[in-house]
């Protein structure tokens, strides 16, 4: 029996997660869920973001399904670092996975692309780079202030995420692009490039390519169909995946997994969008991204058939909309759950 920790979080997180759970109920029948009330409410009540006891309870689950966190009442960064990034680091979620597909009906800003043209995944490193917090300030607030940020990279950390990306490329169209900035960041870039080339030698059937991050950012806009799998560092991945979301219809439709591929701790699955306090509580939030994140969760738990069914249902849901379609959160969940039930029966 799969044990899923559910963190609905703030704003529309609550609403979209309810729909994701409708879908999970049919895709992963009998799963056990425990709900954790983390986010702005807990922080505002107690000043705590992720108490140690909750962290170890979460650790007892097979996966975490998260809605969205963030509220104007909380200083920026507190919940992001204290919850999202903390889970990535504590649970060694070193593969930050974000698939990008252009679905029929999705509002891409690009001309001349058709559904199906864009279909790639970004494998972003999740536990190293500029995300470790290393660095500091000196003479803060004075004219003499200096501030540093340190990017920390290990062979261990780069090799494991690069291997994961090669495995994913093998299961897809067999093309892997490394993105870095080796012409400027020679130290970290050197480590990434050498490690990539060494692992590549073990995968003669995978075609590989290297791109500087500035070029890759541009190519995601003017030739996104050329990508299959991209592997990159933590910060570059953060930027590239938002461009990827933009060209496939916006972060409103994107889902992401912060994955520990070794299953030594739970992985987190969530929609990429935020808590959208402006539309919370009205039943008009689109739960499609939250539902898509259950497909990533199912895939991670080895339920590939169920994952495929959820993706197919999402594709039909989006394909059935036109630009005038009004979203009713609950109806979307009902439709997708019924579709998945039909496929799996």
């Amino acid at each position: 029996m799969s044990r899923i920790a559910v963190i609905p979080g703030d704003g529309i997180g609550q609403e979209v997660i309810a729909e994701a759970q409708k879908v999970l109920a049919v895709a992963l029948p009998g799963y056990e869920s425990t709900e954790y009330d983390l986010g702005a409410r807990l922080y505002n009540r107690t000043g705590e973001v992720l108490p140690d006891t909750v962290l170890s309870e979460l650790d007892g689950h097979d996966a975490i399904l998260l809605g969205a966190i963030g509220d104007p009442s909380v200083p920026p960064g507190v919940l992001e670092r204290g919850l999202l990034l903390k889970l990535r680091f504590e649970f060694d979620q070193y593969v930050n996975l974000r698939p990008s597909r252009l679905y029929p009906g999705a509002p891409t800003p690009l001309a001349d692309v058709k559904p199906g043209d864009i279909d790639f995944v970004v494998v972003r490193e999740g536990t190293e780079g500029l995300y470790t917090g290393a660095g500091g300030n000196l003479h803060t607030g004075s004219a003499a202030e200096i501030a540093t940020e340190e990017s920390l990279n290990t062979r261990y950390g780069t090799e494991r995420v690069i291997r994961d990306a090669f495995e994913r490329a093998k299961r897809r169209r067999g093309h892997l692009t490394l993105v870095h900035k080796t012409n400027v960041l020679v130290h970290a870039g050197g480590l990434w490039k050498r490690t990539f080339d060494e692992v590549a030698a073990e995968y003669p059937d995978i075609t590989t390519e290297y791109q500087h991050v500035d070029a890759a950012a541009m190519f995601l806009v003017n030739r996104p169909h050329t990508f299959d799998v991209i592997v990159t560092d933590n910060l570059f991945g953060d930027i590239l995946t938002d461009i990827a979301a933009a060209v496939t219809g916006g972060i409103g439709l994107a889902a992401t997994g912060s994955i520990n591929p070794d299953h030594t701790h739970p992985s987190t699955f969530e929609p990429v969008h935020g808590s959208a306090p402006d539309i919370a509580g009205q039943g008009i939030a689109d739960p499609v991204a939250a539902i898509s994140s259950t497909a990533l969760l199912l895939e991670h738990l080895g339920r590939t058939d169920a994952a495929i069914a959820v993706n197919a249902a999402v594709e039909r849901e989006l394909g059935g909309r036109d630009s005038g379609t009004k979203i009713r959160t609950g109806e979307v969940g009902d439709r997708v759950a019924a579709d998945v039930a039909g496929q799996l029966s």
Copy 2:
């Protein structure tokens, strides 16, 4: 009499700079130019990229006009760091300026944008951040290898580029967006944000906004018309300006200035595109970006009327093309130079 150092460089650099000089001849009559043969040829012949004697000769000029450097025969990074970045650091070119305008006739990949919709400039810091080379490798090549990159930021360095950006916003539509990643890069982000807010208090007429770099990358794709001036750090600026180039028709049309606003050393102006060895020598390279870089040069030298004339001529040149138009490098230069001559006579 203006003294311009000209570095045509490699590949199509030679060809497009010849056209830029045709335009400069009419826009800045009687300017003196000295040509420097730097780039792959010099490196392959002597192993040198930028000899100290040449560096100090360049320093005697009012501006540098550069074509493109880079050739497959030179290891990646050598010329970029040894020439482009070296000039930025040695000549304290702390404002890396890249205007983005969607011209009529430019092949944007975006749907639903018209010429004139996109018109913003990115003011990218050019002498700090992750570009200083600080960092290193330990246990290189072993399983225990670590690599670091250090982002170095000073109050001095952030304040001067932020002030420059506020001044530019004042001369434009009065809107300035700071882009950073304050929710993760708390040390450098804190310095940038505090400095920005302090300087903003001196510019009550400028509306300001803050965006995380991932969000900004997305907005450049799905609502580029909302930007006027963007100020950001060195690496973020590198990435964002390539996205900006992509949405306005590609790096083939973009021009950039690495500017020392205090004129204590020369500034460098160049097209953003590379040396394109595949089409070099055929007379088919588009010199428009090189020509646009002369407009930035003229502006920097205080020749605003001439800069406006060059931009207007470039706009007419692009507007007169359709997708079937074959570029003949020399004809483009002739046409634009004649147009500029007509305007200034």
